[in-house]
Symmetry: D2
Subunit: 298 residues, 4 copies
């Protein structure tokens, strides 16, 4: 199974009453189906997975599966704090037809967790999973970083096929690419470092920003694959500012608003995440207008 | 409602097959009922609440309620990432007869969370809660620290009656005690700073270590209340090492093993938390043996 | 040599042209001589030691020695990154008549420093020093924390007589007091935790805030020594806010301005430290006015 | 003035008695003169500048100037905590014939430093400097990170011509390259991210590792400039492990030992930096032997 290309970390839209909008979600997927996206990550951090109940999560998984174009790879976020619950979620995703599971590190009891804890957790999940497992290291949310030695140890497991590294460290990507078996695939979680990550051997990316700008991120990926490095550099530099002003400064609320402006079902996030204020909305609208009038930019 | 005295953060025992042992839990409570403990915290961090399912959590709440002596104050840990889910859990705890809810900060989307996020979250929970709310700041697990300005803003809410501060900062306890309304109660989460916390105005403590050593921690509390400062200091200094070697170095697994040695239902934690190895067990056994042969020590 | 009581971390006043004002410094010392301060720390962090040249440092040491009352203990800050330079500075301080040296941890190459590095550094300095050495752990400036095991190892050295711990951790004070030889003296660097630190066995304190409010901090120390715990608590709680608003929020510039208001030679710090703006000055002036009209407060 | 290419962060060799070995230093420079290195950084972090006295620093600057080939750009590290001292050092370097000054952020009083503090500091230095100034952000040693807004504000100053960013963040390099005037030059301090940094617009690098492996790093730079991306990637991946095992794991002591093995004057660092133990030496020797027998590797 190859994770080449760009996967958006899907958002979860809500109805006016706060319930998950499966219609909105399916609408987004139908539009994404028309693009060069390689597949979809469902129930990732961007999907507000930690704010959804179990029934909601299952409904989201089923809805995406229902409308996704058949050539798209489907990845389900299934990581929970408990090893047993992670396995249960992974099995449900497999039963629903998902091709792979993205499993974030446990993180709550981090003072008690050692490298051995992560290694045993991921091995237990991979042993029990009917589908391939991708590790997920996202220190900005979890406070936990999977370091190179643990990653390389886990890369030996036949059912652990890669990692999404959202630490932003291009150096670690190089370390893993140079140290892991050739079949182990590294995906970056950072749109602002997509080109440099690919340059040192990442195979693709799972990106929140791709939920609003799928074409631009696919374009950047294609430029790199085609060896058009100068154009890749220019597009990457244009995307750096877009990424910072939308995702770094405004998070999921910012991303969803950018999606609204681009005709997707964005909406507001669930509490405790707060919606954007009017000033922030104006800034994002101005940024997108600027990008559209600039041929060389997003 | 006064939270004076010592509350153990209860552990959750498991049967050999990994299921929650309600019998073991009730057995522990019946022993604690004989002590001077002021009440019980159920489903806190020490209770592995993030490793339990919803049905398990409800069963644990009901079991403790069933056997707790009537004079013991019952506090339920009800914090979830989502505001709505936190409210739902708080209402269930109230319906089960709990006297107060301990609500930890949301923490997953910490790059997007501002002081305003926490203030709005806690106010929404307190507005909706049928029972008084205690804030819970536990940066060692969440990576989020409630700072004094947010705490003081929230202390104005009539249904927010106090805070459990597990940051270990005695300075912040002083800041909150000196800045908040007199009715706002500060509880420390640190057994190693119990006496200094009480000395600057904390009203009590919610302590993991009290699950293994309830008498010693009640004794220390009583010494301070009685103004026997020299004895309080000596007992606190003895407890510092016990706390460090059991909780800081070994976490829940260490605490549960100490409980086993003292005749409680301890057992092993759930995965991904790992059980103690034999060397660690020997160290804790030696520590407890040493304490028992030392009249002035725990 | 006993370090009981309160030592101000002296500030360094400057003339209008930016040169060190030895006259201003001596003027401050003459006033401090009239108080119950136990002695003086010269060339600490508060003294802007890292902004002074070698000749300036020597002149400051000589000036304080010249006018200090004979009963005051004189401590010189002599820590440098290099072991050899630290020894050289310590010997100069001894030659100038200083009673003890306060030696901060090396910190620049912290990724390469191990506990062993600190242990060997401090032992080398203590071996070579003609005067007793106090360890100095100040993570807020250095990013380095001396942990309990290193401190206890160093406490065995006959010429290492104590530590100034400015980490703010009252827990660590308890750990060191309970684990070190009885002759090893712990001094806190936190005015906001003076009472709790003394309560668990600290012998005294070296405090920036004592440069502006020597009488109040000596009063708090005396209350604790006399066992007047209730009054100690009240005064400590009053000082918590003063400490936070002056030192935590405004640093050396805030402290010096408070000194100006209280009739000492304060002035502005050296660049890159910036002077207070007018708004900050007004806040500090208002705080001091409030304290003076409040009998129970600073 | 253009900072294209690779600059080694020079080490400082010592004689057996601990004195600076100017002869050893000159010997190293004479060999470096034969390579494609673009110039030299003298008195950087790698040069143990914080462990040298003023006279030693001046002697080192003079020695390198004396023997450097005339086409090599000479950069002096002149940052000190004090603004005035930084200016004084910068002027001395200029007087000695240095072409540019590398000025690290002040960092000791970091709780009091604001973005404005850094901006005013660097502007004051640049105003007073007879030679162009490069900013230097090295959070691993200082605990201070120059963030993009400050860098972009400073990039407007006509005498601030670039930055050495040793944070390891390739994203920030992209942000600065895309946001700063075209003349502002970004240099990376990370050998493990040299290729990705160049890919997003860095102009060159100042690298500790180049003191031991100048040819390999120049080769990597040249591959990127020539657009030979596939070979650049392969060489970068080989260098990632070398960088980690020598610099990340062993710091200056490791670098100097690698220099010894390659025939340079390496030696041991000054205390408190400790020399390598025999096991570490064997590991580095084995790594270099492996590299030499591997055509595709360093």
């Amino acid at each position: 199974m190859e994770f080449r290309g760009i996967f958006p970390a899907l958002t979860t839209p809500y109805e006016a009453d706060g319930e998950v909008s499966l219609a909105g979600l399916k609408g987004n997927i139908r539009r994404y189906n028309q693009t060069g996206l390689a597949g979809y990550l469902v129930l990732g951090s961007t999907g507000e997975s930690v704010l959804l109940g179990r029934e909601e999560s299952d409904a989201v998984l089923a809805a995406v599966k229902e409308v996704a174009a058949p050539e798209k790879l489907l990845i389900a976020g299934t990581g929970a704090e408990s090893t047993a619950e992670t396995i249960a979620r992974t099995r449900r995703a497999a039963a629903l037809g998902y091709h792979a599971a993205l499993v974030k590190t446990p993180y709550y009891y981090k003072p008690a967790y050692r490298p051995e804890t992560y290694i045993r957790h991921f091995r237990a999940v991979a042993d029990a999973s009917p589908i391939p497992v991708l590790l997920y290291s996202v220190p900005v949310f979890t406070g936990v970083t999977l370091e190179t030695p643990e990653i390389l140890a886990l890369a030996e497991h036949t059912n652990i096929v890669g990692i999404k590294d959202s630490s932003g460290s291009v150096q670690r990507i190089g370390e893993v690419v140079s140290g892991a078996p050739a079949a182990f695939q590294v995906l970056t979680g950072g749109a602002a470092v997509l080109y440099p990550a690919l340059a040192v051997g990442a195979k693709g990316a799972i990106l929140a920003l791709a939920s609003a700008f799928p074409e631009k991120l696919v374009e950047l990926y294609d430029l790199v694959i085609q060896g058009r490095h100068e154009q890749a550099k220019e597009l990457q530099l244009a995307l750096v500012g877009t990424s910072k002003r939308i995702m770094t400064e405004n998070g999921i609320a910012g991303l969803k608003y950018a999606m609204d402006l681009r005709g997707y079902h964005g909406g507001v996030p669930r509490l405790p995440l707060l919606p954007l204020n009017e000033e922030k909305k104006r800034q994002i609208a101005a940024l997108l207008a600027l990008n559209e009038t600039s041929a060389a930019r997003v």
